[in-house]
């Protein structure tokens, strides 16, 4: 087993500006891996590389044992970006049908999955609505539904729950856990601490560097903190002292 995601010594820079610096990350089994860090820390760049739509300046990124980008692997990855990336002038259903066909789902499968994913994000009754009439939170959920359509083995979610109310957010995280239990690996970026607590493992990113990785409980114990936030501060501060 070569693991699900293997990021090795990846660096990325635009001119003099360093976005990622010698960063490594591995996901060996289906788990929820949370990337926690402030905005501008390089989380999005990192997940884009794993999704195959950005290339590192140095280092390697592989998914399911093969280097990215790889068109065959892309069919097994579900990617949800920070932008909702929806066609506003189409209905939710038309959006779903379009993306479902890109991933090669046949007609029967397509209809079945559309209903399933829209139930998952509690939007089933809004299928025929135009996306431009959706609220911000609804668009976010539709975007998530699209990422789930083709039952990917690896889900890459960039801040999936921004603008979604707490009740629904909890329901969505419950869903993530059941997806994981069914064998889906989930890589999620967040800067919300209570979401971080629900991840199986966390990677703390600051200024393009992975300052710590481990289970939330373990990170707290090691730093003698009661919250992840305190642990982050500890590692961030220690990073500075070095």
């Amino acid at each position: 087993m070569e693991g699900i995601v293997a990021v090795q010594n990846v660096s990325k820079h635009f001119g003099d500006h360093v976005v990622l610096n010698d960063l490594s990350l591995t996901m060996g089994r289906p788990e929820i891996f949370g990337l926690l860090g402030p905005s501008g820390s390089g989380k999005t760049t990192l997940v884009k590389m794993i999704a195959g739509i950005d290339a590192p300046s140095s280092g390697t990124v592989s998914v399911f044992g093969e280097g990215m980008p790889n068109l065959k692997l892309m069919g097994q990855i579900g990617y949800m970006a920070q932008a909702d990336a929806l066609y506003e002038e189409l209905t939710a259903k038309e959006n779903l049908e379009f993306f479902a066909s890109l991933y090669g789902l046949n007609q029967a499968k397509r209809q079945k999955r559309i209903v399933e994913v829209m139930e998952m994000v509690s939007l089933k009754s809004d299928l025929k609505k135009m996306v431009k009439d959706y609220s911000g939170g609804m668009k976010r959920r539709l975007s998530l539904a699209i990422a789930l359509l083709h039952e990917p083995k690896l889900l890459i979610l960039d801040e999936p729950t921004v603008g979604i109310d707490p009740v629904l957010r909890k329901a969505i995280w419950d869903k993530f856990e059941s997806l994981r239990d069914n064998g889906t690996a989930i890589l999620v970026t967040t800067h919300v601490m209570d979401e971080a607590e629900r991840c199986d493992r966390l990677g703390l990113i600051r200024d393009g560097e992975m300052i710590a990785t481990g289970e939330p409980g373990q990170l707290k114990r090691e730093t003698n903190s009661s919250t992840i936030e305190e642990a982050f501060l500890f590692y961030g501060g220690a990073g500075h002292a070095n």
């Binding site: 195959g52 065959k72 970006a81 990336a85 929806l86 506003e88 993306f99 890109l102």
Partner: protein, 341 residues
């Protein structure tokens, strides 16, 4: 004070967007220069073949600033058909016979004027020799609209498809859907072909509507086959589509897409044959053959005015297909910016 703050902010924004600034300042200069070069060209010198005419007449005609050739009647008619000559003058029964190429009313008038001037100078009191004018293409009823109509037909097809396709592709990028497409197993060339076919359907309708309106409603001169007109406008639209999507990757927003109009679209009009290409200053004349509209306008005129068939437009058609293929290829390469494979 608040107004001052607004003024300063607007000026700052302007200086941030160097392209808009350059467009506001330089584009008008560029267009003015082009117009000047186009209109300040030389006077049009008609090319005329004289057949068996008295030497006194030929000498006088030469003084009147025309390009005169003497060659056998048969050869002259061939050159007239190819558009190398504007008129052939011959005589029979004390009558001067002028055969005009005929597709450009302005050229027709200029040519007849020169010949009439020459005749007046030769025998000022009375014009005893009669003039008999006939047309190879068109007629004396042909209006200027008939002449530049085919060019406008092509231009409008080009202009709107260019803009709409460009903005559509730009939105795909700015709204993040292009990124989502790139994160799927979709190949880069599939996106380009998808756009070509999707817009191709739309442009087929558009070409059909524009062409039928011009021909059947506005009664534009139409001597050739309607299906050729459709093929030419459709192929021109494809170059507009592929060029629009290509250039959209160099624009950050809709406004910057609009900025390509004076730079890419408007200059094409100057070299499309709306103005006589032979009077355009040689400094800019070379631009014409680099623009798709140049070939489309030529082909449309061949079909609509001169009634030519496939053999007359084949070269133009090939050039249009070539432009489309080139732009499509460049599109596929430009998408590499978003995904390496």
């Amino acid at each position: 004070m608040r107004i001052r703050a607004i003024v300063i902010r607007i000026l700052q924004q302007f200086f941030r967007d160097k392209r808009t600034l350059a467009l506001m300042l330089l584009a008008p200069l560029l267009i003015l220069t082009m117009l000047w070069l186009v209109f300040n060209g030389k006077d049009y010198k008609p090319s005329i073949a004289a057949i068996d005419l008295p030497s006194s007449f030929i000498a006088k005609l030469n003084e009147n600033d025309v390009k005169l050739k003497t060659l056998p009647y048969k050869d002259a008619m061939v050159e007239l058909k190819e558009g190398k000559l504007d008129a052939v003058i011959s005589h029979s029964n004390r009558e001067l016979q002028i055969k005009l190429e005929g597709s450009d009313p302005t050229v027709n008038k200029e040519t007849i004027n020169k010949i009439q001037e020459t005749m007046k100078e030769l025998s000022p009191e009375k014009t005893q020799a009669k003039l008999s004018i006939s047309y190879l293409y068109g007629s004396k009823d042909m209006s200027s609209f008939d002449n530049f109509g085919p060019v406008l037909l092509g231009f409008f097809a080009f202009f709107f498809v260019f803009l709409i396709a460009g903005v559509a592709f730009l939105r795909e990028r700015t709204r993040g859907t292009l990124e989502r497409l790139m994160a799927s197993p979709l190949k880069r060339w599939e996106i380009v072909i998808g756009y070509v076919i999707g817009f191709g359907v739309f442009t087929t309708f558009q070409s059909a509507i524009i062409a039928s309106y011009a021909i059947y409603v506005l009664d534009m001169l139409m001597n050739g086959s309607f299906i050729y007109v459709l093929i030419i406008t459709l192929l021109l639209s494809l170059t507009a589509l592929t060029l629009g999507t290509l250039l959209s990757s160099f624009a950050n927003n809709e406004l910057q897409m609009m900025q390509f109009i004076p730079l890419v679209v408007v200059p094409q009009i100057f070299f499309s044959g709306l103005f006589n290409l032979e009077t355009i200053s040689p400094w800019v004349r070379w631009i014409g053959p680099l623009t798709p509209l140049y070939y489309a306008a030529d082909a449309l005129r061949d079909v609509m005015i001169r009634g030519k068939g496939w053999s007359g437009i084949a070269t133009d058609i090939c050039m249009l297909i070539g432009f489309s293929l080139l732009f499509m290829l460049l599109n596929v390469v430009a998408l590499k910016k978003h995904r390496r494979i």
